[in-house]
């Protein structure tokens, strides 16, 4: 999705606000959790903060919400600097991982709470609650208590409570992680549809890269408090900025083969491959996706290896081969069968492989040249 598309989506509502985070820092004691985080979220954009647990993504979100105070940096919502504004005045709504429903209030009272504290008259409130509940298909459950609902229903009530007052920004902290796999897929689609309908600027935190890929207009990948890369899902998948992003996106993750560059050629495991835009010499890592590679007969491929396991996952057969100490995953058609420990070779269209600097982890501009064989 291009920036133009995002802007087109944002015209769906004029309420959508731009959210800018500039140079945000946060430490808990000696631990520097968020380091110089700067992101611009376009009006109506669905931005996903993705990263492993403890990477600072939730802390970042909580700073946007105002639940944590930033040590330094700036948060601008629309035209106003909200860095030191109390959460209740920020006009943001948050869906918590735990849903955080008020257990002593009915579904209707839960959804209506944001309107109640704003002093909205009771008839208007009831109408707004019904509308929000209908949007998440919970209008038949208004008199129930949270304890009488299933996980998915609670999740929807939490969503309704967030949308009922039309906030400028939605914040979601792993809202789907407590649901079972089937429900998660369903709610993911619902969520995406709803965000599209409402056109509200959304920041969504998750550690699930599938969720990030499917939901996001743009994905921001974080590790150890540092923003690693921000771009459209296709961007970060096809052009990962560094080893971390390359390894984090995709399941199973990208295969890495350590090697070195000598005289403009990649050398590893007795294989020498020519490079275009020759990189400076030194230790490098070659990376390629499991779905790009193929297992072929020994001698017919690039790297000769031994089969470690072959697992039928349903749609594909996942073959893991051992290349010295390195294990490589290759996605093969589901009909593919192979014996354990048999000698095979791995091949791939070389222009689709990446080259990373082994020390800094950054992707190098050099590409592999096509090898005629």
């Amino acid at each position: 999705m291009s920036v133009a598309d995002i802007e087109a989506a944002s015209t769906a509502t004029s309420r959508a606000q731009k959210l800018s985070i500039r140079g945000l820092n946060k430490s808990f004691g000696a631990v520097h959790v968020v380091k110089d985080l700067s992101i611009d979220v376009e009006p109506g954009e669905f931005l996903v903060l993705l990263g492993p647990s403890g990477c600072g993504k939730t802390t970042g979100l909580r700073m946007i919400a105002g639940l944590e105070v930033a040590d330094s940096g700036q948060i601008v919502l629309g035209d106003s600097d909200v860095t030191s504004v109390l959460p209740k005045y920020r006009d943001v709504a948050m869906v918590f991982q735990s849903y955080a429903l008020y257990p002593h209030k009915t579904v209707a009272d839960n959804i209506g709470f944001p309107l109640k504290v704003r002093g909205l008259p009771i008839e208007q409130r009831a109408a707004a609650v019904r509308e929000a509940a209908a949007q998440v298909h919970m209008d038949d459950y208004l008199d129930r208590y949270p304890r009488q609902l299933s996980g998915g229903q609670r999740q929807r009530v939490a969503l309704a409570r967030a949308i009922v007052r039309r906030p400028s920004v939605f914040l979601m902290d792993e809202p789907l992680s407590n649901l079972d796999a089937k429900l998660r897929g369903y709610m993911r689609a619902e969520l995406k549809h709803m965000q599209h309908e409402l056109g509200v600027t959304t920041v969504y935190v998750t550690h699930d890269q599938v969720e990030a890929m499917t939901l996001a207009h743009r994905v921001a990948i974080m590790d150890e408090g540092v923003l690693q890369q921000i771009g459209t899902p296709r961007d970060v998948y096809d052009r990962p900025a560094n080893l971390f992003v390359a390894g984090f996106m995709g399941s199973p993750s990208m295969n890495f083969i350590r090697g070195s560059v000598e005289n403009g050629r990649f050398e590893s495991h007795g294989v020498s491959l020519p490079l275009v835009d020759a990189a400076p010499g030194g230790d490098v890592v070659m990376g390629f996706r499991p779905e790009d590679a193929q297992v072929v007969d020994p001698g017919a491929g690039l790297f000769d290896a031994k089969v470690f396991t072959a697992e039928l996952t349903g749609d594909v057969t996942l073959v893991t081969v051992a290349l010295g100490d390195t294990s490589l995953a290759v996605k093969m058609p589901k009909e593919y069968e192979v014996d354990y420990d048999s000698a095979v070779a791995v091949t791939l269209p070389l222009p689709q492989a990446f080259l990373f600097d082994a020390r800094s982890g950054q992707r190098l501009p050099a590409r592999f040249a096509e090898v005629a064989r």
Binding site: A65, G66, L67, L86, P87, K88, R90, V92, A93, M94, F96, S98, Y99, A100, L101, Y102, P103, H104, F113, P114, V117, R118, Y145, P146, R147, Q148, L149, S150, G151, R154, R161, R165, N178
Partner: protein, 358 residues
């Protein structure tokens, strides 16, 4: 016999064996049910018999009490309402006064204690305090200095308090950053409960002298203040646990929904802590209602409470007036039982169910 022999297992779950085996987890076997209910029955009798005895003694004539045990009204002895008449008709004023005192003192002490205590407990549960060890020491030294200069050198107390305060603030600001060791919420909580380690009896004489010097002996106020202070640690300790049990997410969510700190407390926290509030209120109420030693010291005529009246039935040239004492005890128990029944409704389980996850 082999371990997994199916015939053995079949035999085990039939016949006499069944009597000792639970039909499923969470259920009791008939044998244990028999034992448990017998024990409960025995314990009920053990607890209830004294109450029964008090009730029948209150309708006995002195002669029925003194001439050895009489167990059953209408059979062993003829019930007579003379003690009730004495206390509730002839000497009504004498009975009502301590009763009113007890109600006022227990009620206000409980309200004050719950208000202050739950706020303190909530603060301890939600805000992280890190007072520096040195600062606390400085404060204590300043206070001791002020007290000594007032008590020994006769300095005007306002002057002493003001200068001690000023010295403390100046020193704390000047040296505060140099202090490394600090105490946390756990230490504060322990310090709170540590005040109950000392038996209250030990402090009765100093407390008496304190109220004497401010001329508040024999007033409701003195007893209300004392009961509030004595019960405060229990309230803080118990309520801390209840407040800590409320997920923080709920409060943060309410804040984002636009609620102020106060709204969060009244709309979210208090309703969820009502189980704890009810239980703690009942506990504090009973403590204040039944307290004897402090009341004995701090009240003489005007502020006498019911426990003092009970004790007053014992002694004098007539010996112990058991029948009257029993009447007083009964009318003393009634409001507590009523309170317990009212608060029982709030002491329900599973109130937090459905708050977070499932």
């Amino acid at each position: 016999m082999t371990f997994g022999d199916p015939t053995q297992r079949a035999r085990g779950s039939s016949g006499i064996g069944r009597f000792f085996e639970a039909p499923q987890i969470g259920r009791m076997s008939p044998a244990s049910r028999l034992i448990v209910y017998s024990l409960l029955l025995f314990w009920s009798a053990f607890v209830l018999f004294p109450l029964y005895w008090i009730v029948i003694t209150s309708v006995k004539l002195p002669i029925d009490v003194n001439d050895g045990p009489a167990y059953l009204p209408f059979i062993d002895f003829a019930p007579n309402m003379h003690a009730w008449r004495d206390l509730l008709v002839l000497d009504l004023a004498e009975t009502v006064k301590p009763y009113r005192n007890s109600v006022i003192i227990a009620l206000f002490a409980t309200i004050a204690c719950m208000l202050i205590g739950s706020m303190a407990a909530y603060a301890l549960a939600r805000i992280e305090y890190k007072p520096k060890f040195g600062t606390i020491l400085l404060f204590v030294v300043a206070m001791v200095g002020a007290s000594v200069s007032v008590g020994i050198w006769g300095v005007d107390w306002r002057l002493a308090a003001a200068s001690a305060g000023a010295i403390f603030v100046l020193l704390a600001r000047a040296l505060g950053r140099r202090f490394k060791r600090s105490v946390g919420n756990g230490d504060i909580l322990f310090w709170m409960i540590s005040q109950r380690i000392l038996p209250p009896v030990v402090t009765v004489v100093p407390v008496y002298m304190m109220f004497q010097s401010v001329r508040l002996l024999d007033t409701h106020f003195a007893l209300i203040v004392t009961y509030t202070v004595v019960n405060l640690p229990i309230v803080v300790w118990l309520m801390y646990d209840f407040f800590s049990g409320i997920p923080k997410d709920l409060e943060e969510s309410a804040q984002l929904d636009g609620a102020s700190r106060l709204t969060v407390f009244y709309e979210i926290v208090l309703p969820l802590a009502r189980t704890g509030l009810a239980a703690t209120t009942l506990l504090v109420l009973i403590f204040s209602w039944n307290e004897y030693v402090v009341a004995l010291f701090l009240s003489t005529t005007n502020a006498q409470t019911m426990p003092i009246l009970v004790a007053a039935m014992n002694g004098g040239e007539k010996g112990v007036l058991w029948w009257k004492m029993c009447v007083v005890i009964i009318i003393m128990i009634i409001p507590v039982v009523l309170m317990a029944l009212v608060l029982q409704r709030f002491i329900s389980k599973g109130i937090l169910l459905g708050a977070v996850k499932g």
